[in-house]
Subunit: 394 residues, 2 copies
DNA sequence: CAATCTTCTTGAAACCTTTCACAAACTTAC
DNA sequence: GTAAGTTTGTGAAAGGTTTCAAGAAGATTG
């Protein structure tokens, strides 16, 4: 067999039989209507296995466990919640009964009665952005230490989805909500603490007396980034970012403007390149636009509102033949792990992502357990990390 | 003010007052003990605002709404669940009462009585890996279409955390669980369907008659990757991946071995470089080890179990002076968005991430709503995307 | 051995909603 | 103007757990 055998096979539908669409219940999609790129699936139906072992069709509850163990219902609950209060013998009996019945505690009932949840949620702006998943890891770390679990929710920069999730979480009576909001001043958001759900705003400073917030000084970050570019001699600089409903974008731009002003350069020297979202794809789009400008009108540097944009911009510029940093210097924001591994290692403004998440979670836990809790506004300081995309190899 | 002013400020603690540690409740951490890199936070305490507006201290329930609206409790419930059954006038009254009382439906009680949850969960192997967040987006898309919400959970390749989350989700009686498991054959996993929680395994094929699964043929992917390298003339090739408890790793390695065999090369030509996780950092470590080998004993190509490893490997090798692909050709796996934007654009094995998530969610929805559901095993076909990291610029 | 303590166990109430059979109030049709 | 229907609202039961006052059994003391 020639080495190319496998490679050929990779493009073939492995299952020669024309199996129906892999998504049952969906009909009317003819095979030919599928985009050429979509890999063809193979499907195997399985006979449903008879569940012989399952003791009963409906889930066992404390009552069943109590009966099986020959104890009262209250005792079963004690085994669950205050095991030290029940004698070892009884406990063993109860635990055996639980195991044999496959008992799974009904959390809805528990929470309804006990009134407390063991869950906090982090509602992220964009789960696809490594910045936020790093923050999430900090959150998880702090939560685990406190014996809580974290549910992650992804608003995806979509206000409707954000509102949906807020409703849901409030209805779930979670112990608290961490959120990187689209709009930190929205009325929707400040309602939660009023009704008893603590909220900590992450990556936005806010001062409404309703929430704690943990943020990094974005204005300062923008200032630092632009000051760096100005020091390198750049005078006409693009600001790539958007939409302007996102506070991080406007703050960073404001910082950039401030730096320009302080350097005595006219405000018009900061050229706005507006994007529809903070994604790699939008960055590529921005690159297309920038590279399309005649060289004499094109800015010599670009400051991007985050690293995803910067990476997309970088990729597109390089592939269109622009040299980075000679033709266009680029500064990103966040210093995500991929920034250092980029085509041209990216100068970026680093934020303490992990610490941000951890601190936010700790504030939330304090708020929900400490009656003397006072809201705090914690601000961290960003740090410029200079790499090849601005300084070149010299 | 000189342009460097802002840059200087960035390294200073903006708040001159020696504020206590930003994490209340933690003590004994002296300022000097902080690592130098940790940005210093500024903290602002806020007096707790008196809640004048809050109507009552405890949340309002249906009963209160009923009283306020002058209707019966059952009617309020009807407004919530079957609004078409209540007259417009009454409905308006009830809705007004809800709004003025700030009523938030108690989901625990609802679920306890109604017995159904409007939530599905996706338990991911690594939320920091863009591959999985892309899968998650597919899941969210399908769920949204069905009016469900998605909670994301991150096992972080940690079996204990995975088990914890499974317990939690089962107790929550979620409508279903999507999971990319550490070990798809674990007994823990097959218990869920027995007890009524549908489970769909994502990115692993499984054939135990208990779950649906949606996967991409990893053996084939490994085969394709290695065949490509062999065609380019490489004979001694590193396989970078681990730990071996992760099925994706062993499958891809198996595929690589098969390709080697088919090409008539000895099995020993595939050099195992074992990593502790599938992360960029581990990839850098592998790069260190590979670059440290004398040139004549070093493999001329590396196939990495995923793109994170490949990006780390690439970054480390480049910074240690190895040329890619001349000294070392690299193939990644997943074709995440950052692969194309890497220092040397990465050849990678693409998987239909979005489709994977969407299909999995659709199978889950079918299982939980269609009584005639039959478990399916859907397998997609991967596709090699060739870029500079193997083929060079020629 | 009675009295007092401890240590375990119990049973019933409570948590907040949904559900469902039924009643009440209107309509319509003859 | 009554019978039959339709629409809208009602009240009580139920769902699975936790909590807590109180009881039972056993151990200790004087």
């Amino acid at each position: 067999m020639t080495p190319s055998g496998a490679a050929d096979r990779a493009r073939r539908t492995p299952d020669p039989a024309r199996t129906p669409s892999p998504t049952p219940g969906r009909s009317g999609r003819t095979p030919s209507a599928e985009p050429a790129r979509t890999p063809k699936p193979s499907v195997r139906r399985q006979a449903r296995r008879l569940r012989q072992g399952a003791t009963s069709r409906t889930a066992a509850g404390v009552k069943d466990v109590a009966a099986a163990a020959g104890v009262s219902l209250g005792t079963v609950s004690n085994v669950l919640n205050r095991p030290e209060m029940v004698s070892p013998t009884t406990r063993a009996k109860v635990e055996a009964a639980m195991a044999s019945l496959g008992f799974v505690r009904n959390e809805s009932a528990r929470q309804l009665r006990a009134g407390s949840s063991r869950i906090i949620a982090y509602l992220m702006l964009d789960a696809g952005n490594p910045f936020f998943t790093d923050v999430a890891r900090g959150v998880e770390e702090a939560a685990e230490k406190a014996g809580l679990s974290v549910f992650l929710c992804n608003s995806n920069e979509d206000a409707a989805r954000e509102a949906n999730y807020l409703d849901l979480l409030e209805q779930q009576r979670v112990q608290g909500v961490l959120i990187t909001p689209i709009d930190p001043d929205s009325a929707r958001l400040s309602k939660l603490p009023d009704r008893g759900t603590p909220v900590v705003v992450v990556d936005r400073a806010i001062d409404d007396g309703e929430h704690c917030s943990v943020a990094v000084d974005d204005v300062l970050g923008g200032e630092v980034a632009l000051t760096h570019l100005i020091e390198l001699g750049h005078e006409r600089i693009a600001f790539v970012g958007g939409p302007n409903t996102i506070g991080q974008v406007t703050d960073r731009r404001a910082g950039a403007r401030a730096a320009l002003r302080q350097a005595g350069l006219p405000a018009g020297n900061l050229v706005d390149v507006l994007t529809g979202a903070l994604t790699v794809a939008e960055g590529r789009g921005a690159g297309q636009r920038l590279a399309g400008l005649p060289a004499d009108r094109r800015p010599t540097a670009a400051f991007c509102a985050n690293d995803l944009l910067a990476l997309g911009l970088l990729q597109q510029c390089v592939s269109l033949g622009l040299r980075v940093p000679e033709d266009l210097a680029i500064v990103g924001y966040d210093d995500i792990e991929f920034a250092a591994a980029a085509a041209v290692p990216l100068t970026s403004v680093r934020q303490p992502r992990h610490l941000l998440g951890r601190t936010a979670a700790e504030l939330l836990l304090d708020e929900s357990s400490n009656p003397d809790h006072e809201h705090q506004r914690v601000t961290f300081t960003p740090e410029l990390v200079v790499r090849t995309s601005t300084r070149g190899n010299t």
